[in-house]
């Protein structure tokens, strides 16, 4: 259960995210839990000391990363969602995201998309960096590394969902998987995600 103290600590997390990231998650809540579900998230955030009206969020403006994370944790708490639900939310988010429509120019081939992925990161976050570390279309893998980004473990789930979905946009294969092979919260210096396909 989230406490005010814990919420305060989360809100203090460094960095900002685009409002679009918050809005796409809220859209997922709306689809699964209706408008009442969205209100519940707002009410719980207010109880924790962070009242916010999602209707007032502007998709291209920047908002504290902590608020985005707190909102995800609130969703988990009130809807009893597991990491699997959060992962699904992250994979469906690009279908709704306005930013993705703007970034369509990057989704033209596996190679181009992989090379341009750091730009995609900068469109969403003002901290940390995404490194398109290694890829092989022959061996069918992408390796992404996220550096200088230590926010909250739930973001590992979110990032895995995003990277998987972005990869699906440029791969013809219907069997695409992702695995987090290094985690900054488990003593590694960065997060590493490997995307494989058949």
């Amino acid at each position: 259960m989230l406490s005010k103290e814990k919420a305060k600590k989360i809100i203090g997390i460094e960095g900002n995210v685009r409002g679009e990231g918050i809005l796409t998650d809220i859209e997922y809540v709306r689809k699964r839990k209706g408008e009442g579900g969205v209100r519940k998230v707002e009410e719980r955030l207010a109880e924790l000391g962070y009242p916010i009206k999602f209707k007032e969020i502007q998709s291209l403006d920047w908002y504290p990363q902590g608020l985005d994370i707190l909102k995800i944790l609130v969703m988990k708490e009130i809807f009893n969602w597991t990491d699997k639900d959060i992962f699904e939310m992250a994979t469906l988010a690009p279908q709704i995201s306005f930013l993705v429509r703007m970034l369509i120019k990057y989704f033209i081939s596996p190679k181009k998309s992989f090379e341009q992925s750091p730009n995609y990161w900068r469109q969403h976050f003002d901290t940390g960096e995404l490194e398109a570390h290694k890829s092989s279309e022959q061996k069918k893998y992408f390796v992404f590394r996220v550096k200088n980004y230590k926010t909250h473990p739930i973001m590992c789930v979110i990032l895995a969902g995003y990277f998987l979905q972005m990869s699906k946009y440029v791969l013809k294969s219907k069997e695409v998987t992702i695995k987090e092979t290094k985690c900054i919260f488990k003593g590694d210096h960065y997060d590493e995600f490997i995307v494989n396909w058949v």
């Binding site: 120019k105 033209i108 699906k168 946009y169």
Partner: protein, 198 residues
């Protein structure tokens, strides 16, 4: 002073972006023709409300078990779609091509398809737009008209046959009458002759 100017331009740019986004969203909502934007790998990146209404699919939800929306799902004749896709990717502009769309609940909708290629600043193809016009009513009208034409043709054919029969009959009668008249004339002549002999 410089910072003030920078802030001013930044604020202005943000406002312009917001206005642009709002305009695109409003236009997309209004547009009664189903339109979608597809990347070169055949994944739908964006679509307007009319598109979701006609297809029955829902934005931000799994499509046939996948978190991405493959454009090929829309077509009854996949082979024909592959040929059309080849033409689109080869820069051909498609206009009013007749095809059949399959909706989420397996309903067949006859449509005409038009496409327009999308390119980035360097002229690289980044995808294409597809627009669908529902021609169900036109098809029904066409079918009804064809049915009526068939019925009328059949009716006419029957009338022609009747007329032919009548013609045959009347012409036959006429000939018979001529023959009879000839016979009467002959008999009259014979009668006159026999009167003269007496």
């Amino acid at each position: 002073m410089i910072n003030n100017k920078k802030d001013f331009y930044l604020q202005q740019l943000k406002q312009d972006l917001r206005d642009l986004k709002k305009y695109i969203e409003e236009f997309s909502l209004f547009l009664p023709i189903p339109v979608c934007s597809v990347n070169p790998l055949g994944v739908i990146i964006d679509a307007n409300r009319a598109f979701y209404e006609i297809t029955g699919y829902k934005k931000g939800e799994k499509i046939k078990g996948e978190t991405i929306f493959r454009v090929e799902h829309l077509f009854e004749d996949k082979k024909k779609w592959k040929e059309l896709e080849k033409r689109i990717l080869k820069k051909e502009f498609i206009k009013g091509e007749e095809t059949v769309m399959i909706t989420e609940d397996k309903k067949r909708i006859p449509v005409t398809l038009s496409s327009s290629r999308r390119e980035d600043d360097q002229g690289t193809m980044i995808g294409y737009f597809l627009a669908f016009i529902d021609i169900t009513d036109i098809k029904i009208l066409q079918e009804n008209l064809e049915k009526k034409v068939k019925e009328r043709t059949k009716e006419l054919q029957e009338k022609v046959e009747e007329l032919e029969k009548f013609h045959k009959l009347t012409v036959g009668r006429e000939l018979k009458m001529i023959e009879l008249k000839k016979e009467i004339k002959k008999l009259k002549e014979e009668l006159e002759k026999s009167k003269g002999r007496q």
